[in-house]
Structure formats: C-alpha cells, structure tokens
C-alpha cells in the first residue's frame, strides 16, 4: 500500500473521504460514536422530560420561551447543514477553494447560532433570574441545551482547526476524511437540535 496521499485529477477517487483504509476507519468510527451520542442525548432528553415541570416555584417553560429566537436559531443551524453538504459536494469534485468557502460559511452560521444561544441564556438569567441552580427544571434545561451548545463549540473548533491547518496544503487523501467526518458530526448536531426545538421549546410552549 503506497502512502502517496496527494491528489491529481486522473487518480481522483470516487469518494476521497473513504479512499484510504484510515479514511474508512474514521468514517465508520465516527458513525459508531454517533450511535453512543444518541444514547447520551436520549438520557439528557429523558432527564429533561422527567424534570421539566419541577420548577420549584420559579419560572416555567411557558413563562420563558419565545418562538422568534428559536426559529432564527433553527434556520441558522439547518442552513449550516446545507452549506456543509455543498462543501462536501465540492470536495468530491476536487475543488478545494470552494470547499473551504462553503465550510467557512458553515462556521459563520454556527457562530451566529452560538451567539443567539448565549444571548438567550443571558436573557433568562437577567430578566427572569432563571439559572442552572433555580430549580430542577433549570438544571435540566441548561444541561440539555448546554450539552448541545458544547457540541457546537467543539464542532466549530474542529472545523476551524481543519480549515486553518489545510488552507495552504489543499485537499489530499489524508485530510479529506477529516473534513468528511466533521460534516457528518455537524449534521448530527443538527439532528439533536431538531429534537431540542421540538421537545424543549415547542412542546414547552404548548403544555
């Protein structure tokens, strides 16, 4: 097995992310990891659902949540999922510049999402004095949404490190799998958010 990872158009493989043995490992490994993450978030959701009415006299979900911000955040994150798909599309076409561009947009959208979330938390804390320590509901809310936020932060750091690191080197069979696994991870963050906005925010507003 030769270790020449650089790419040229003639030898450009069907799917550069899975062309090497290491690439395949990374890809499958990340997916399995997401299987575990599913259980992790399920436990957090379950805890939240068990405690979401334990407000101990403090503010409840109906008092707190508003539709507009959550909608904006949702659109931001969903769109960032699409932009990362574009990036991968360009990767498969061996177009490194465009790939970086679309991943850049993805990162920006992610940052915007995070900004909204920080604003939201600050708002709850200052306007409603609703904190992590207020009630079991508070603890469960910040933990669930915060864990998701933490995943976003981690994803962003990962992406930015990748982009900076490879800016001058271009695409290779060595780094293509890294970009690709990032993209899958990013979609998963989106998946979790879909359930957060549905279960935490939307359901929290109706019941």
């Amino acid at each position: 097995m030769s270790q020449d990872h650089s790419l040229n158009p003639e030898s450009f493989p069907q799917d550069p992310a899975k062309a090497t043995q290491e690439g395949k490992h990374k890809y499958i490994g990340l997916w399995f990891f997401l299987g575990g993450e599913t259980v992790l978030f399920a436990c957090l959701f379950a805890t939240y659902l068990a405690l979401h009415q334990s407000t101990a006299g403090g503010p409840s979900s109906q008092d707190l949540f508003g539709l507009e911000l959550v909608f904006i955040m949702t659109i931001l994150l969903l769109t960032s999922s699409l932009t990362s798909v574009y990036a991968i599309y360009h990767m498969k076409n061996n177009n490194f510049k465009k790939m970086q561009l679309w991943f850049g947009i993805t990162a920006l959208l992610g940052i915007a999402f995070l900004a909204c979330e920080i604003y939201e938390f600050a708002h709850y804390i200052h306007e409603y004095e609703f904190t992590f320590r207020s009630s079991a509901f508070g603890s469960a809310f910040y933990t669930l949404v915060g864990f998701h936020g933490g995943h976003v932060v981690f994803g962003l750091s990962w992406l930015i490190a990748l982009m900076v690191r490879n800016a001058k080197r271009g695409l290779s069979l060595y780094n293509a799998p890294k970009y690709n696994t990032f993209a899958i991870y990013w979609h998963f963050i989106d998946v979790v958010w879909v359930f957060i906005f549905t279960v935490v925010y939307l359901m929290g507003m109706v019941s």
């Binding site: 490994g29 436990c43 405690l51 101990a56 603890s139 490190a161 690191r165």
Partner: protein
C-alpha cells in the same frame, strides 16, 4: 524500529517504549497488568470486609471506613479489574483472531488505556486525600449528593475518566472487526471470542453514555449547585437509579459475554471438537445483549415503580435465561463426544459450568419480583452476583490467562501450580458465597457494617470469611506461578496446545509486532484447524510479501490524559477554593493542546521493509 532492536534495551528505553506504544499487544498486556493490580487491591479490600464480618459486632474497622471499603471494593473490581482485564484480552487477542495487523485506531487505543489507568489512580487517590467514596458502588442519590468530603467527587471524576477510556476501546474494537478482517474471514467465520468482543463493544457503546450522563448530573449537583437530585428544588432521586442501571445492567453483560467468548475458545480446543451450534451461539450472544438493555429495572423492584413496570421487567429478565441456557447446553454438547484433556485452562472452564449455572439460577430467582422483595439488598443478592462474577467472569479471566499466556508472553504457565491455585480458589469461592444465600434469607441485609449478636448469623459469616482466605491463598499461588514462569518457564511454540484452531495460533508466541507477515487466507471457521486437517503446515497467504505499514508511537495520549487528570483535580477542589480553577484550566489547556497537536501534526506512520521481513526467520 525493527524487531531485533526491541531486544537488549535499557530500562529507560523499555519504559519509554511502553509509555509511547500504540501496539495493541503491548497495550493489551498493560491493561491486563493494571487490571491484575487493581484486582489484588479489590481483593484486599474484600478481605478487610470479610475480617470485619468474621464475628458479630466486630469493630475491626469503623462504620464510615466500612462503607468506603465496600464502595471501593465494588467499584475497583468492576471498573478497574474485571472490565480492563477483559479489554486487555480483546486488545491482545481479537486482532490476531481476525488476521489483522493492529486495531483501527492505535492512537486512540493507547489514549483509552491511559484514561482508564489514570481514572483508577484518581479513584484510589481518594484514600489519601480525605476519604474514599462511601455511598456504595451504585452511589444512590441523595446519599451520594449529601456525602461529606470529596470521596464521591473522586468517584465521579475517576469513573468519568476511565469510562471515557472504555468507550474509546469499544468503538475501536467495533471498527476493527467491521473493517479489518483478513481475506475470507466473513462474519460467520469469526471465532466466538471475536464475536463476543464485538457484541460487548456494542454494549459499551450504548451503555457507557448513560453512566456518563448520570455522572455529569451527580457532578453538577455536587460541584456546581444544580438541583437534579435535590428534592427541595423539585429534583428526583430516582433518575440517578435509572441512569445508573441503564448502564449498570448492560455492564454485567459487558463482563460476562467476553468470558463466554473465552470459554467458547477453550472448550473446542481441549475437547478437540468443533464448537457445537456455532450459529446459535452467535445468535444467543446477540439475544443476551438485546434483552440485556431492557431489564435494568430489575434492580429497582422495591423502589415503588408500580406493578406494571415490575411485571414487565420481571418477565423480560427471566427471558435471558433462555439464550444463556442455549450457551450452556452448547458447551456441554461440545464436550460430548470429544476427547477432553484437562489442564489448568480447562479446569477453570469446567468449574465455570456448575458455578455460573448456580449464579444464573439465583438470578432468575431474583427476577421473580415478588420474591425479590425478600432478596433485594440482602446477602442473597451478594451471593448471586459473586457467583456469576467470580464463577463466570473471574474464572473466565483465569482460564483465558492460562490459555493465552503463551501467546501473550511466550511461556507456558506451570501446570502443577495452576492446579493448586485452582483448587484453593475454587473451594474457597464456594465456601465464601454459597452460605451467603442463606445469610440473606435469614435476614442479613447487605452493606451491613456489623450484624448483631444472637441473630443466628454468626456461623455463616465465619465460614464465609474462611472461604475468602482460601481464595486469597489461591490467588497468591497464582501470583507465584506467574513469577516462576516468567523466570523459568518453558518457551512456547506457536501452537503450544497442539490443538489450536484459530488464527492466533498460526503465528509465533509471542506474536511479532506486525502480527502477520502476510495476511492469511481464511477458508472457513477455525481456519488453522482446517489447514491442519488438510495437512498444511502453515496458513496460505492472501497477499505477496510486501512492506508493512505501521503506526508511529506517541507520548501524546499519556500527556493528554495527565491533562485531564489535573483538570479533574481542579474540578474537585474548586468547590473549596476558587484558586483551584487555575488548576482546572491548566489541565484543560494541556489536554486540549495535545489534541490540537495531534490534529495539526500529520502522522503517516512508518514501514517495515520487505527485506527486513525476509531476513527474519519464521
């Protein structure tokens, strides 16, 4: 980095080699060694427990210390002894069995090991830093949230670290098995130990996140003032119990399935007969894993979940008897009609059958929830789980050690000492735990620092203590055997048993660092046996001799782990003084820095050249 250079190195070089190694065999050996160390530690704690319970109202140790002792005994044995030793076997053996040159993620593999080791160190550090955790290995809230001092904090951080390590190991094995099987090694040709590694890894993947979440919640409550388990603020203590057991029950199958795998390797080899009902064995393994996730509330029958929940979980639990029974009978049928040779490895395997059957039976008795109202939290339960764990897992580990010792270390363990150790341990084991069934039924709850006089519990407890000391004697003989064999043992051939069936016996003992010079071509189940029966001396290679790509060693996993370790101390002590936040951040910086270096620095590995390989004798 050729093979010859590993000989005749100074101590420093050898140490450095182990600190930086990413070789699955060395990591496997380190897992086993560390696990053995913790087993002795946990065993000494068990002896202290038994001394305390030797006589009624004994005060060998104080009440508080007793609670620390049982907590650390349970935690150490489960998380730091049994699990890691089995993970060690998976590491060292599974890649050989599927004809792979390493695991899929060698770097992650070493990170997983160091995380486990430092998690264990963290946990045991608590003895010296103001007291060990004292809320039981199950750490039920609110006892654990209210427990004073930092004991439970060490429990939380220690398990978090070692749990992360185990999770990495699990994913690693899964990817390895899915992608790295040798040509011809289809799923249904994989040896059962590989299968059970696969299924146990799935269990790890799905069970440990529940523990992770539980530990986070406990950590937040204890260190950051959240209210998950604080009843006054609407918290709910039963959430912890669910999270713990959603993890905890699959965990016991994480322990027993690899042990089943080991027995499934040993019985055919020493009965010289193919494993009976291979496909039903695989199927049963999956059934146990599947059902294992739907029974956790059988630990919570008395919590007050209501009759519907109790009934469902009771029936689901009993159902596990069926696939396990399939396995027991398949092993019996494997021996039936064979030509059974009894040596130490086989002795442990044979002893497993009655011992584990008793333990499984009492398990089914516990599953009958009405009766569990009586058994729960008594010595009956203690007897049950030591029968399955010691009689199943520990026997499995010891059988595996005797069986694979030549492959791991190149020497055959001394038979005579092996047998002495076996009989001492085996008799001691039944003496210790059989009587505990009755102690429980006679009204002795578990986790009792003392039992009172005149309650008819004296004789039973004394017998139990005597048994524990016999087990200790047996263990000591085993340790002597290991030392003796290391110094004087006979050198082992590639297939020291002569009847090896699987691929690990096709290569020299111990295995060379690249495992297979040429990947073997697998023509069926028990590939080596097939070649032997066809009169071939060696496996047919599936590829021409070529350069072998190897991963580079790295010190980063160790440093990264130390970073997390320091950060954990910061987490624990920032409650006392905010100055500790600096330690927290420093530790995090080290760990994240290592991650950054790892992702920024390309690591292409190196090659062992064809010429060097040719030069080596077979």
């Amino acid at each position: 980095m050729s093979i010859a250079s590993t000989q005749n190195k100074g101590f420093g070089a050898i140490l450095w080699d182990y600190l930086t190694t990413v070789d699955h065999k060395k990591i496997g050996n380190m897992y086993i060694a560390a696990g053995a160390f913790f087993f002795i530690l946990g065993g000494i704690e068990a002896l202290i427990i038994r001394i305390q319970l030797m006589a009624p109202e004994n005060d060998f140790i104080s009440a508080g210390l007793y609670n620390e002792m049982i907590t650390m005994h349970g935690t150490t044995m489960i998380f730091l002894a049994a699990t890691p030793i089995l993970v060690g076997f998976m590491n060292a053996i599974m890649p050989l069995q599927i004809g792979a040159r390493d695991v899929a993620f060698p770097f992650l593999n070493s990170l997983g090991f160091w995380l486990f080791l430092f998690g264990g160190i963290m946990l045991n550090l608590s003895w010296f830093l103001g007291g060990a955790p004292d809320a039981g290995w199950t750490a039920y809230t609110p006892l654990s949230t209210q427990s004073p001092g930092h004991g439970v904090d060490f429990y939380v951080m220690g398990l978090q670290l070692s749990g992360a390590g185990t999770l990495m190991g699990g994913i690693n094995f899964l990817v390895t098995i899915v992608t790295m099987r040798a040509p011809g090694m289809t799923y249904m040709r994989m040896p059962l130990f590989t299968w059970t590694t696969f299924v146990a890894s799935i269990l790890i993947l799905f069970a440990f996140p529940a523990l992770t979440v539980g530990l986070f919640l406990l950590m937040f409550d204890r260190m950051f003032g959240s209210a998950f388990f604080d009843v006054a603020l609407g918290g709910n203590s039963v959430i912890w119990q669910h999270l713990f057991w959603i993890f905890g029950h699959p965990e016991v199958y994480i322990l027993i399935l690899p042990a089943f795998g080991i027995f499934s390797e040993i019985f055919p080899v020493f009965a010289k007969k193919r494993l009976f009902g291979y496909s039903s064995m695989v199927f049963a393994t999956f059934m146990i894993a599947f059902l294992g996730f739907m029974v956790w509330a059988h630990h919570m029958f008395t919590v007050g979940l209501g009759p519907v929940a109790n009934a469902i979980f009771a029936v689901a639990t009993m159902a596990i008897a069926v696939p396990t029974g399939i396995k027991i009978f398949n092993w019996l049928a494997t021996m039936w009609g064979g030509s059974i040779r009894i040596n130490s490895a086989m002795l442990w395997s044979l002893a497993f059958i009655p011992s584990f059957t008793i333990g499984g039976m009492t398990g089914v008795m516990l599953a009958a929830s009405t009766a569990d109202f009586q058994y729960h939290d008594t010595y009956f339960v203690v007897a049950h789980f030591h029968y399955v764990i010691v009689g199943g897992v520990v026997f499995g580990i010891l059988a595996g050690l005797h069986y694979w010792w030549p492959k791991l270390f190149g020497k055959v363990l001394h038979e005579g000492m092996g047998k002495i150790a076996f009989w001492l341990f085996f008799i001691g084991f039944h003496l210790t735990f059989f009587i505990q069934h009755f102690l429980g039924l006679m009204g002795m709850p578990r986790r009792y620092w003392v039992f009172l006089e005149n309650q008819g519990l004296d004789t039973g407890n004394l017998v139990s203590t005597i048994g524990a000391f016999l087990m200790a004697l047996g263990s000591i003989v085993f340790v002597i055997n290991v030392v003796y064999t290391t110094m004087k043992g006979e050198k082992a051939s590639a297939d020291p048993w002569g009847t090896g069936r699987t691929l690990e016996w096709a290569i020299s003992s111990p295995a060379p660092e690249y495992n297979f010079k040429q990947l073997p071509l697998v023509r069926g189940l028990d590939p080596l046996w097939i070649e032997k029966m066809d009169g071939n001396v060696k496996m047919t290679p599936a590829e021409p001799l070529n350069d072998i790509h190897m991963p580079n060693g790295s010190i980063l996993p160790l440093i990264m782990t130390i970073g997390f370790f320091i950060a954990s101390l910061g987490f624990i002590y920032q409650v006392d003084s905010k100055a500790w936040l600096i330690v927290l951040y420093a530790g995090m910086a080290i760990a994240l820095g290592c991650m950054l270096i790892r992702s920024l620095k390309d690591d292409h590995g190196f090659h062992i050249h064809k010429e060097d390989l040719e030069r080596e004798a077979d």
